[in-house]
Symmetry: C3
Subunit: 330 residues, 3 copies
């Protein structure tokens, strides 16, 4: 989360932001989008924003991009009202949970007047949840990661069951857990394999779109080449591991197996440790474990009729970061 800006940006953009507060507001909102993948960089955020805009437009669901943006803006205003620390605010750390929450609510709830009420309320509360989770987790030197997004989105999605004016047509139905059966042994097509890797990147933002994935990768590389490399490697590893374990091939190709391991790899391998052979092996183990834990989360949420979101990333990253990753530095 401390990726420094490139020197060039700092030169004119940072000066412009210092002189004009509306530019600063735009800057830290873009950084908020960038922080979804740990990039404290407005250009990364702009690429991600473009990716979500494109993906939503192509899916005929522009309300998703709007939902993310609205929740983000509300979160920034709430953070200002609550007088949060300026350096943390300006690094975009009060924005990424809200942005994901807005996207997720607009994806799983039907378009309706109350969807927008939910997005506004959720955006505001995401800041309070971020303040709360940050305070709890810093007891052990941990970041809250996307836990505030997961908690508030799960609660709001669950609540829709009790309110008839908040229809949630895209939520799964509540069910008992069924072990999946072995599929007919179709030969694995190389295109499906590559698609699984690519779409995993865009599923970080709850989107299954190849162009969006490429834009996200570009944004990631702008912020950190290492992060982009780890993301692609993690997606590759996840898709291979999932095939070896016999995961549903539709899930793999749809990118639903790989998006959590990507976040784990970036967090454990690049954000909270310097890349090295030891830390790379540690991140590899964390990545593989996230594939398994994601399988567990899919089962665990079945009775509750909610999506897993990024719960497996948060759980595995906390475990691996709590175990003092300084042990794994050279």
């Amino acid at each position: 989360m401390n990726e420094p800006d490139t020197a060039q940006q700092a030169n004119w953009w940072e000066q412009a932001c210092r002189s004009a507060s509306p530019l600063r507001f735009i800057d830290f909102n873009l950084r908020g989008i960038g922080q979804v993948m740990f990039q404290d960089n407005p250009l990364s955020g702009l690429c991600f924003f473009a990716a979500i805009g494109w993906g939503s437009f192509m899916a005929g669901a522009l309300e998703i991009a709007i939902g993310g943006l609205l929740a983000l803006l509300i979160a920034s205003l709430t953070a200002l009202w609550l007088r949060v620390e300026t350096t943390v605010l300006h690094a975009g750390l009060y924005g990424f949970n809200a942005y994901l929450l807005g996207i997720a609510l607009a994806t799983f709830l039907d378009p309706s007047p109350l969807l927008w009420v939910y997005v506004v309320l959720g955006g505001a509360v995401s800041v309070i949840a971020t303040l709360a989770a940050t305070r709890v987790m810093q007891t052990w030197g941990l970041s809250a990661l996307t836990a505030p997004f997961i908690l508030i989105t799960w609660l709001l999605l669950l609540s829709s069951n009790g309110f008839s004016s908040v229809p949630a047509g895209a939520l799964p139905t509540s069910g008992l857990i069924q072990p999946i059966a072995a599929e007919a042994a179709d030969p694995l097509r190389i295109l499906d394999f590559l698609q699984g890797i690519l779409i995993s990147v865009s599923q970080v933002f709850v989107k299954g779109d190849g162009i969006a994935a490429l834009l996200i990768l570009i944004g990631l590389a702008v912020g950190s080449i290492a992060a982009a490399g780890y993301a692609l490697a993690a997606a590759l590893v996840s898709v291979i591991v999932a095939h070896l374990l016999g995961a549903e091939s539709q899930l793999i190709t749809g990118g639903l197996v790989g998006f959590n391991p990507i976040l784990t790899a970036i967090a454990v391998g690049t954000v909270f440790a310097r890349p090295s052979l030891r830390s790379g092996l540690y991140a590899l183990l964390a990545t593989i474990v996230t594939v398994l834990v994601q399988g567990a989360m899919v089962a665990a949420v079945t009775p509750f009729a909610i999506p897993t979101l990024t719960a497996s990333f948060v759980l595995v990253s906390w475990l691996f970061l709590l175990a003092k990753p300084n042990r794994i530095e050279a």
Copy 2:
């Protein structure tokens, strides 16, 4: 939880308690009942006790009032045996979880010899859970609130499924989550609307009774006029929000939507912050969020066949209090 006694009480009652330990015992047990709604005041406790007695009697279920009283007395004796801190004991802080637990067990379990064993065991363990939760939560400057009551009551109610001598006829049955359907658009009757507000107050003590609610409001006002005002305002807000969201009208009128937001409003707005415009807005947001989270909790506990109790109040209050409410003071 630090509401001072009125000057008058301090004059003769406090002196009587100091001179006679049986009076002190009665005093801190009454305060224990008062602390269910944050009132460190024996008169508040007496009013609440009368309310539960009346409500149980009218429902033909006097075992509920007796269950609460028995669990409370056992908790006080357990606290003495465990040599807890005297000032905390005398403020009633080891009593309110037990009192609620006794009421809840006697409400959801059938009258049977083992009910009383459960009430006694539960009352004793509630003190241990209070000591444990207090120690954990004070890491972040938080009160345990009613978390010990929720944890131990949930565990005991869940355990009844495994023991044929502990029948629990009043528990819901385990099921999958079903989104509620829109109701026929009956015109909202003003009497139902007012009843929803009033009964919300008595549902804090798992009771749906108007006279009991009035007695509770009186007890609350005796301890703190602000608390009584916030309680009524929160009940009003909750009933309106729930209607706008399309909650089941029977739940609203039965007070089952409003009792958690009432507790949140008192805690966030009056106990842990001085009432002001900023803190009032903050408490209003917390109150509305509690209505939504209560909807989420109803869905989340469906597979487990247990009631939500005050889980949404505890969860939302912890979030809003963790987020450093000093930010919201003027």
Copy 3:
């Protein structure tokens, strides 16, 4: 966990371990097995190891004993790779969670190539989970107990539902919670009663075998006479309480009611407090409460199709230890 070796052992075995690192490796792996029941003693570990070997062999499922051993060895190698603290490693504290995990995975998953991948991965991750949980729980002066085993085993078992190459034939099926019905009042046979007590001891290691139970009791007595006494007393109390509550007689006789209370009694009564009348009463209360909480856990995991493992022991022990057991010393 601080049971000192007997003086004799220290004489020649400790010196041998000091001079030869392969002996040290064997020593701390055996202590790892011993720590399942809090015995920092290689002879205890050897007895437990023999018990699991015997039980697995008699059940025609030697893969269970091998699974435990493999996970244990992988955990020790992982701990060395992560450069954990030597004194903690040599006390066996990075081994017991892995040993239980290996046994549990080999019990509930079908023998298959991926079972062994799971055992190896699980063994490695159990160390990371132990480091993580230890760091969190030491905030309140608590041991992580078997929480790492429970967390990682639950996740791996849950994940099997999503992977067709990881069949889990011995897992229960996901279902709704059903209160058990009263059984026909068969007269309680004394042999069944004694069997329930004995088998409870071996069920600590997920085994239902009388000879194994006797070997475990011997190993326990080698490490600590008090622990062996508390274990037997807790098993007796659990079986009696479960019968009085009307638990399913097949569960009681199969030792599935008593294994968690045994661990609670040893932990609360002997490991973290000096045995005394007060601490004995405290441990008795904790033991009885664990029987109830175990009933609750059986219900709670029903929708998730996973076994309860030692969750009720961990939950109740944490509660009772958090409540400052120094209060209960004489």
